[in-house]
Each structure stands twice: as C-alpha cells, then as structure tokens.
Amino acid sequence: MRTTLSELAPLPAPPASVAAGPTHPPGDLAVWFFILAELLVFAVFFAAYAFARAHDVALFNAMQEQLDRPGGALNTVLLITASWCVARAVQAVCEQNHAALGARWLAGGIACGGGFLIVKCIEYADKFAAGINLSTNTFWMFYLSLTFFHFMHVILGMVILAVLWAQTRRGIYTPGHANGLESGAAYWHMVDLVWIVLFPLVYVMR
C-alpha cells in the first residue's frame, strides 16, 4: 500500500507556492534514501583512495600505468549510453505514454550494461592472469575493491532494469503512475554517476 507524505513535517504544509515545479525527485523516497546511503559509502571510499594514494604516490602512479584506460573509457561510454537509454525509456512512458517504445529503450540500456560487464570481465581476466589480487598492494586493493563494488552495483542495476523491462512491456506504467519505473531508473543513473567519478579518479588522475 502506498501513501503520499509530508508526514514527517510536524506542521501542515505552508500555503500557496510562488514557483512551480515539484520539490521532490522522480521516484520513491525509499529508493532515494538508499541512493544517498550508497553515494555516502562511495564518497568515503573515493576519499580513502585519494588519501591512501597521497601516502604512496609513486606506487599508485606506477600501478596506474598498467590499467586499461581505453577499456575504462569505453565502459564510460557504455554506461552513459545505458543511462541515456533509460532516461529515454522514462520519457517514452511518462511523456509519450508509449510503453512498447519504453521497453525497447530499456532493452537498449540492459544491452549497454551487459557490454560494460563484458569489457570489465576482460579487464579482470587480464589482471587475474597477471597474478593481481586484493592482497597484492594498496593500489590493486583499491582498484579491485572500488571497481568490484561498482561491478556488483551494475549487476544489481541490470536486475532492476530487467524487472522494469518486463513490467513496462506488460504496460504496468503509465504517465503519472510510474513510481517503480522512475525509482529503478534513478538507481541506474546512480550507478552511472559513480562510474563518472571512478573512471577519472582511478584510471586517469595522477
């Protein structure tokens, strides 16, 4: 059962608005709390990487050389494209009321996400073949931890997209009644957002 709310506000909502537009993001606040929690974890993780690097710049710079930068850039493109597809899917459903089109865009997003996983697996296979693991040194610990933590998010995001795809095809979402679709889409964009920080931080900055 769903309730709308400003229920944590101890006082009733103030009168008459001046500006138009919603004050809340698309999707369910429960998902947004989750997104905020995840972003907080990632922020701490990114900061930990940056400060650990400051203790051993030479190591980090040397090891970074061994990363597959074109692969990382390709993955950025794939995730951005996936995110764009999902944004278009929400548009198709919520603005054009065209569920079939929305489902096709979602399928595109899932395909790009799958591409990301494949590229990432090739990269991992390469690193594992070189004997690299979490205990190799601090740089590889961070590289594997950060990217694998993100990798798992991509998988979770794709599971969510797959559910959304099935629901959209069945025509469950309509304009004004797309809470689930918007929530799942927001989560997927979060996965993209994290990679947008991760790629330059780990692969490029030196």
Binding site: A19, G21, P22, T23, H24, P25, P26, W32, L36, L39, A43, F46, A47, A50, F51, R53, A54, H55, V57, N61, R69, P70, A73, T76, V77, I80, T81, S83, W84, V86, A87, R88, V90, Q91, E182, A185, A186, H189, M190, D192, L193, I196, V197, F199, P200, L201, Y203, V204, M205, R206
Partner: protein, 84 residues
C-alpha cells in the same frame, strides 16, 4: 536541456577525459581539468537523466553537492600528495 543534448555533451566530455589521460598530463592543471569535467558530467546525469532539473529545493542541490564534496576531497588529497 534535453536528455539527448546532455548525452552528446557527456560523450564529448568522456573523450576529453580520455585524451587528457593519453597525454599523460599530471599536476594541478590536469587535475583541475579532470575534476571540472567530472563535475560537469555528473551534474548532467543528475539534472537531466535523474530528472532533478525541474525540482526545486534540497533535492536539486543534494547530488551536485555530493559531487562537489567528492571533487573537493580528491583535490585536497592530490594536493597533499604533490607536497609530499
């Protein structure tokens, strides 16, 4: 801005990030450029993909604020690394 335009800008910014990496540039200038690109890209995702552009109040500021915070922490840490 539409999602399509943002998408095009995101691709361009990704290319720029990659090219900075290819030149092997290091130091303050490269770092600043990369952080600005990162913030710009993240902001586009937040505003146009997540759909926060039309939203007023906290929520619109929260995620760009997160990006800013992360960028700031990275900048501080990388500066500290340079002075080591």
């Amino acid at each position: 801005m539409s999602a399509d335009k943002s998408f095009a800008l995101l691709l361009a910014a990704t290319a720029a990030t990659f090219l900075i990496g290819e030149t092997g540039a290091a130091g303050g200038g490269a770092l600043a450029g990369l952080l600005i690109l990162m913030f710009a890209k993240g902001r586009l995702v937040v505003l146009d993909f997540m759909g926060l552009r039309a939203v007023r109040g906290y929520w619109r500021l929260l995620l760009p604020g997160w990006l800013l915070l992360v960028a700031l922490l990275i900048a501080i840490a990388f500066r500290a690394a340079q002075s080591n």
